[in-house]
Point group: D3
Chain length 138, copies 6
């Protein structure tokens, strides 16, 4: 079993804001992350799959295909977008990095088989900043 | 003459949109950067000053003071903000990295003397993404 | 279960020196790391916790609180210090990165509950240089 | 159990080409990676071992010895080489990063005991580019 | 005058070999860089242009256009290629990073005007490895 | 004229302390950098030379020779050392990064001619931390 990873990126705006709470409570809990006019990040996304290399290619997965899958299913839907307003799969969810990484996993775990019958999704890792990142293994 | 640099960072939302133009022309010129609902970045800011080291300290400038100056005058006004809506010194300007770096220069060149009488401002460098950056020397 | 990580840093001096051994044996085993007058590093510390996101915040842990905890309990006690002389929790221990990461774990595993009742400590990772690093999972 | 890692690097040329296939099929499957005249990379190699620290040294493994082992057994055989033509342990194998990391593991798992009786090989990680990397755990 | 930079990359094989010299002299001067079977690198290319921002866009140059220009004129001709065999503009030249950066400059200085009438080429910077890089200013 | 750079590194301990001042004034001016028991850094050193490439080699300077020169003259005298106590060329000087980069320049400017008759020293750049760095051009 070899683990193979591909790094992609996207830029997006978001805010952390719970509509069930008052503005004061949002400000108290989320601080500047609750700024009504949004803020944003350069997100770095690392997707890891695992499997046995194909004897004919030496590949667990063709990384060009994995890159295209991630772009088509994930980063084209997030890049230069507002995570709270523009992204159907984040609708009605808190736009935290934790929730975002879970939704990215759900999409990739059902679409990975379209590019490989030997690779399984292992991990989705997402950097919000160079100092804050999350990982999800399903 | 020694050149001394300090690296700071901030996260912000913005869009590129010229209000004199139609939405179609903005979309044509700026593409996804014109997204009405904003996008954002982790900006990395590097400020370089120059001067002769003080014989008593070995310093051109005390980097703790330079860091505090940059935070107070620049990054606290930009961090977790919307460059188009929340930042007085960007009002009525296109929120491009080029314009932002010029405005940052203008503020630092008039405030640097409050922390040092031997350092002169040399360069302001601003990364919008790891692959796109600008520099301004006055 | 989502894994959430925070990156902090500190600068410190240390040496590798076993007081039970002769200076010659220390020099033989540790080489330049045994230099009597010390050497030092920019340490990079990554703390990973795990848990289920809180439905109200989308957070496993508030990263501002995790950052403050790491600073108060760990990096303020290590930054600009001598690991052999200035740090109570390293007293009478070899100042290796392995021993340091174990002591950091012991402190965080008992204090993490003060900032979150849903996050568990998962991993402490410590870079001594960009090319040498250690990890501890308890 | 503490995990200790060492980062090394090497530069090499290679191509992805299956001699059982026609040139057209190679071009179709591998694209520019099948270029007859080769291409190349700066490979970054991270080797992780695990074990309990030695009470006398604080070390799971002496990283100078681990570095020398990796250089002697691995990187000196790969650096400034052609992976398809110059490397005995890659002979008759597809020169994919997946196959390379498996062969590196096989060599290190049998030679690690020459430098330590307490460290076990845990992981070999290999970056082909900053955006593509593989890991192998045996 | 603002300086604007764009970072691109390519992977290539090359060797350092002077055909006027004996194999022994090549080996003596270039060492492993003269390996007959080639070696390779992940090259990182940074192109800097300068000019006054356009008042309507805030841009010195549209970075999407600069990126496309660099890809069409430079990196598509170098990526996954052999610098000695596959690249017309390096024919009969030593495949050193110094010579490569001069040739890249010559191409960009004559094509930049196709995407901007206000930007001038300022610098071409090329990393051969993370530790070795060259710059050319014309 | 092409500019060619080489990146080296060293680890060292130091403190900022002016012996003409009281301990209180040192503490006031230098804060934790004046810690009596020292602190330390992973210093990153980038040396840039300039010249015209040699037509026979394509080199401004042989980077293997430049690397060996920097190691012999500079980093072997600084690595795993105490900048205040162990380094003859820093004796009786404040151990600031500014003063260190000037002394490194003085040594390299007089020894560069031993490895090349076409390269001139252009810049010495020294990172004390990833966020603080200095440059000296003579």
């Amino acid at each position: 079993m070899v683990f193979v990873s591909r790094h992609e990126h996207f830029n997006a705006a978001h805010k952390l804001y719970n509509p069930k709470w008052s503005p004061e409570k949002n400000e108290e809990v989320f601080g500047p992350c609750a700024n009504a006019n949004w803020h944003g990040h350069n997100f770095e996304l690392i997707v890891t799959v695992k499997g046995e290399p194909d004897p004919d290619t030496g590949f667990v997965v063709d990384l060009k295909k994995l890159s295209r899958l991630i772009r088509r299913e994930i980063t084209e839907k997030l890049d230069h977008k507002n995570l709270n307003l523009d992204v159907p799969f984040m609708k009605d969810k808190m736009a935290s990095t934790e929730n975002l990484v879970i939704e990215i996993w759900k999409i990739l775990v059902t679409t990975l088989s379209t590019i490989s019958d030997r690779a399984q999704l292992h991990c989705v890792k997402l950097y919000e900043t160079p100092r804050n990142f999350v990982e999800y293994y399903g």
